[in-house]
């Protein structure tokens, strides 16, 4: 019986109309530009004049030998480490909190989501002022608690953690709603059965909830990793890579090469390397068992 069902689903006449609309969109607006990017990475390409000179693998070799590139890789990795684990645990906790139907929880859920729709420009202004080393809100608060004031964005040590905190604040709502969707997918009968078996809150969390949102967790982890490695806007708006290169991340370096240093081919090579790296990691972590 099963094999018959499979066979009927194997028919392309059914498959094609389902996949075509999205595939066309992706092919035209994503794959084609990516293909262009790959092509350009083998050239010395000047954007405005459109002049192209074939250089083979040179852009790639130069990237791998460029100490500045490796520093941006380290910085990006540091951003990822600072942001993603904290954000995920925080988001999961929030999802557990707001999945209850208590009164007022809906408001809290909305509040957590507001930062995500607030324009990055406005967020960076507000946080920039909050982080101000002399008269920022946070230092005022620390002063109130008689703690020493901090330098935040102007210190090479604190700049990246400061940006990571701001981005956790902005992005945690995103993650929360994925966890929420995952949690909602867990049949309540499982919880009831566990309760009947005498499982406590912690045990339910540890042995039921967490394993059952595994797929959501993988999804959130991968997308967080990808967005963390592609971080650009907040840094571009707040520190431009400074102080002392401490927040110069891969995409900022790529952007500088493309739009300031007039080295489009080099920028393309960096982006292809970044893409390959992310693709590899994602595939290793998504090889989940097929149903």
């Amino acid at each position: 019986m099963n094999s018959e069902i499979r066979r009927s689903l194997r028919q392309y006449s059914y498959v094609i109309p389902l996949i075509l609309p999205a595939l066309i969109g992706i092919a035209i607006f994503q794959l084609w530009p990516i293909f262009e990017s790959i092509r350009v990475s083998f050239y010395d390409y000047k954007m405005i004049s459109g002049s192209m000179k074939w250089v083979g693998w040179q852009n790639y070799l130069k990237t791998l030998q460029d100490p500045l590139f490796w520093q941006t890789v380290r910085n990006t990795l540091w951003f990822f480490i600072l942001k993603v684990p904290v954000q995920m645990v925080f988001a999961f906790g929030l999802a557990l909190l707001v999945q209850t139907t208590a009164r007022g929880i809906g408001i809290l859920r909305t509040i957590i989501l507001i930062p995500a729709i607030t324009s990055m420009v406005v967020v960076s202004v507000i946080w920039g002022l909050m982080y101000h080393p002399n008269n920022g809100l946070i230092n005022s608060f620390l002063e109130y608690l008689s703690l020493p004031p901090q330098k935040f964005l102007i210190s090479p040590k604190q700049s990246m953690p400061s940006i990571a905190l701001m981005m956790i604040w902005k992005d945690v709502g995103f993650n929360m709603i994925f966890f929420l969707a995952g949690l909602m997918g867990i049949p309540s009968s499982i919880y009831e059965a566990a309760k009947i078996d005498g499982a406590g809150g912690w045990e339910i969390l540890r042995y039921i909830t967490v394993p059952l949102v595994r797929r959501t967790t993988v999804f959130v982890l991968i997308t967080n990793m990808i967005t963390a490695f592609k971080v650009f806007t907040p840094i571009f708006l707040m520190t431009r890579g400074g102080p002392a290169n401490s927040t110069r991340v891969i995409v900022l370096y790529l952007y500088e090469n493309a739009f300031i240093y007039n080295k489009m081919g080099y920028a393309a090579a960096i982006s292809i390397l970044l893409g390959l790296f992310l693709l590899t990691i994602s595939f290793i972590s998504t090889r989940d068992k097929p149903y």
């Binding site: 405005i48 008269n135 102007i154 210190s155 002392a244 007039n262």
Partner: protein, 457 residues
Amino acid sequence: MRKMLTAILVLTFILAGCATPTQAPTSPPAIETEAPQPVVTEAPTEVPVATETPVVEEEVTLRFVLPEGGGRPEGYTKVLEAYKAIKPNVTITLETIPFKDYGGQLPVMWASNDPADIALVDSCDVKYYAYSGALAPLDNVFSQEDLADIVPSLIEESSLDGVIYGAPFVISTQGVFYNTEMFEEAGVTVPQSVEESWTWSEFVEKIEKVVASQKSKGNDVWGLVFITNPPTIDIWSHLVVRSFGEKDSPTFKAISDDGTQVSGYLDTPEAMEAYKFWQDLYVTKKLAPQSTVPDAFGTKQAATMISFAAWGGVLKGKFPDLKWGVAPLPYARTRIAHLGEFVPVASAKGKNVEAAKEFLKFLASREGILAYNEATTMIPVRISLIPEIPVFNEMPLKLFADQMVAYGVPRPMSVGHPIYNSIFGQMMVDIAQGADINTVVPNAVSEIDAQLAQYKK
């Protein structure tokens, strides 16, 4: 089919453009040659003839992109009205782009097949875009008479290899805005003319006095702020660094003559002295904030602010209760003010290059500048015009005009100015935030040199 039609239309426009009587197509492209040029100032008188003649001129639409703000949209609207009166067949539409992303949008626009016909480009970037092939040469736009009237260094800044690409018409310089109440309370008098300007060390001494007098009243104020702090672009930070060099010394030039090398220019002993001064201002003396305090000057949280002339208009409109005055820029060894403003250019790939050039000719003429100044006050690049506009003969704008004539210079000239500005700007931010000068300067210098090598001939 539509493409064909457009192509035909474009062709007719180009032909129509060529047929206009204002220029001889055979004249040499290089502007700086001594060859006599047709007298351009007569163009407006010719135009009524053109409108009266039965020959129907083609309808031409030109697109003009410009950064939002600074009174520019308002000023250009006036110019367009004036132009419409003499050239009814030309319609020009203004498209504004947010200022902060303007520099990033231009290359993308010029990489496309459909760029706007006319654009504004920061004067220091004209060479870069010309080198990239984005700009149409403005041959025959300026007559010898025009060139003699316009501040010469601006023509040089807008040219590449002797060919003019930008049509400078108005500019801006910077000055010190100071809080008169704070200075009076501290008993500090402020120089009012360009010859009496303070040196940087005098300036620091005075603002320290003002800050101390405010502190004694329980007011914490900054001595000096810029619009963003620390400033990220050379137009501000080089007011200090270049000024530490003697006139025309490597430090003052701040880049080699061919615009491709900074070692020996940005790392001279005088420059290092300037960096030390800059760092002291922010780190040791704590006179300037290491991170932006918005509206610090307007809300009386700063004693002085270095800004553009137009800032006076903002203060009048937004902070009407504030009492302020202007003073000339301080200097160390050489007096300096930067000439900087957006310069109109024509796209090489534009569909109506000739019509665009003709408009630029009008824009840079006396009539164009006067029309622009009906809506917004900007210093004309034509020195002969300054006495004719009353506001430039009274304070505060007189000071800015005087500075332009007396010691205004363009920013360091290079095809790779965007690169230079980006790396140097970040270096100055790092210095202000306490980085080790002996590390960041050599690093930045070698980075700039490496990046500029692509423009070596």
